[in-house]
């Protein structure tokens, strides 16, 4: 018995050491790109062309001023605001309505419920690019080019988010709560908004982060819909500045600065929402 315990302890120590080594490796893997981006944002175009270094240089402010004043992309802070408006609306709408759809299908028994579920599963894998052509024509015919509506409204129907919410509701939401609320005379809509949504917080937070990041970094759809400078989102601005590089007229320092500035807000949003995820994970285990 003693021997076995000892053996277990050694294997435990070994697996702990291995785990920490693996975690440190993964951490380095995750952070080195950030490190390089930050270092590169402190270097001038000439320094960047001369090769990589691991130490920061003195051009951080120069790059910031260049990026801030670059009129060919209109105005960088405006782009950050634009991106934020679109991403914030998207992440709220997509998580709220996906949860609502999943809730509708999990909680209510109605004719066609299974068909509806199967249908969403069926369409889940269709890449956005497949319908992009038709979508652009639709947007043109509705006169909605150069508005944010075509970027925001379609995210209400997000099959993959629905799928995740459905899985989560199935395993975490006790339907007794809904029943109890009904007994208390709560309206169905109220029950969803004020009783069930709070329980779904962790899942909502996960999907909100995913949606925010996806929208923030999306180049494909905005590039098809927007061609007014004042409306550009950050990825479009980045592509414009970046494309100057190929013709040698660009400033790599500026490019890295824009990338860095584009990352900051999304990191803040992530750190804010990640609290809910980690809290949510514990909540899941309590329920188990």
């Amino acid at each position: 018995m003693d021997f076995v315990d000892k053996g277990n302890r050694t294997t435990l120590i070994i697996s702990r050491v291995v785990s920490y080594i693996f975690l440190i490796f993964v951490t380095i893997l995750s952070l080195f790109s950030f490190y390089l981006l930050i270092i590169n944002a402190t270097r001038s175009n000439a320094q960047l062309q001369a090769g990589f270094t691991l130490l920061p240089r003195e051009h951080f402010l120069d790059n910031l001023v260049t990026a801030w004043n670059d009129t060919s992309i209109f105005f960088l802070p405006q782009g950050m605001l634009n991106s934020f408006i679109v991403a914030a609306c998207t992440c709220i709408l997509t998580s709220y309505f996906s949860a609502m759809t999943a809730y509708g299908i999990c909680v209510y028994d109605f004719k066609g419920r299974n068909v509806a579920h199967k249908f969403i599963i069926l369409i889940m894998m269709i890449p956005t690019q497949v319908s992009a052509l038709g979508f652009v024509q639709l947007v043109n015919s509705l006169g909605l080019t150069n508005t944010y509506w075509p970027l925001i409204i379609p995210t209400i129907a997000a099959p993959a988010t629905y799928f995740y919410m459905k899985q989560y509701i199935d395993s975490t939401l006790p339907l007794e709560i809904v029943e109890a609320a009904r007994v208390d005379g709560s309206n169905e809509f109220r029950t969803y908004n004020f009783i069930c949504l709070p329980i779904l917080k962790p899942a909502l937070a996960v999907q909100m982060i995913f949606a925010f990041v996806a929208s923030w970094n999306n180049f494909f759809t905005p590039a098809l819909i927007l061609d007014k400078k004042e409306l550009y989102t950050l990825p479009i601005m980045l592509s414009i500045v970046r494309s100057r590089i190929n013709s040698q007229a660009g400033d790599m320092g500026e490019v890295y600065m824009i990338i860095l500035l584009a990352i900051v807000p999304v990191v803040v949003v992530y750190l804010f929402l990640s609290k809910f995820i980690i809290g949510g994970v514990t909540l899941g285990s309590v329920k188990g």
């Binding site: 951490t27 109605f110 894998m125 269709i126 995820i277």
Partner: protein, 316 residues
Amino acid sequence: MSSTTSTAPAKHKSISYAKWGYLFIAPFFIIYITCSLIPLLSTFYNSLFENYMDGLKQIGPNFVGLDNFVKLFTPRSDGRLEILNYTINTMVMWIMGAVPQVVFALLLAVIFTSERLKIKGQTFFKTVIYMPNLIMASAFAMLFFQIFSSVGPINQIITASGGDVFMFFDKEWSTRSIIAFINFLMWFGNTTILLMAGIMGIDQSLFEAASIDGATSTQVFFKITIPLLMPIIIYVVITALIGGLQMFDVPQIITAGSGRPNNTTKTLVMALNSYIGTSKNYGMAGAVSFVLFVITGILSFIVFRSTEPKKEGKKK
């Protein structure tokens, strides 16, 4: 586990709340039909027409039946069928990135959720591993293009240690590996978060019971964790697959849209983009979209088929 909770409540429902069900799912379907389904069908409809710009001259739209598809499936003079080539490229680069992505995510999820290991600083590690996902794909592609360029740091190290400059982007395997690596790096944190949430949802008493019965941790992992994680794993695989089929930014930027070397990194969406840009070739782009749609259909069928039976087995 999902099957038990979802079948149980059906018995409780005596008052009809059906209309609420319709009401709750209505926004999704209304928006889906207007913003996705109609555009999807019109895209397919486009594929039956010759419709493009020649310089500033509009050609068509002229109805041409299935001509665009015939063109797409005609091998070139040297016998290569490019649409098949693009499909293979997409799948190969996806698998090269997705396999390590899921393996890493599973390992991390197990490490984080293990009661025995009691890892310290979990919050830090969990927060950090998702962060690469916050960087734009195009920024990643740019950074890696520079890192591996002929004058980049990797080649500086190679030449400093006496080697010859290695042209990473002139070789098929290295270009593909770099593209796959970027995709892996961007997405493994995302997958880990999803799996972690899933593992934490598993009833802890199952693990305790298993360890009392003398199960090894490997046995626990394959006999308990994996089967119970199946719904989340399916979700992960499907979302990864969607991402894989849409692969565009990274190879587009790394190869400047050329799919070099020898068209081995050109993906389906890059081809789609190639048709839409410059000539607004809606006919051919529609045909490529349809092919992409069919491939998606086949793959989702395979994914669901290969995961369904296991689910049923669990029920018993």
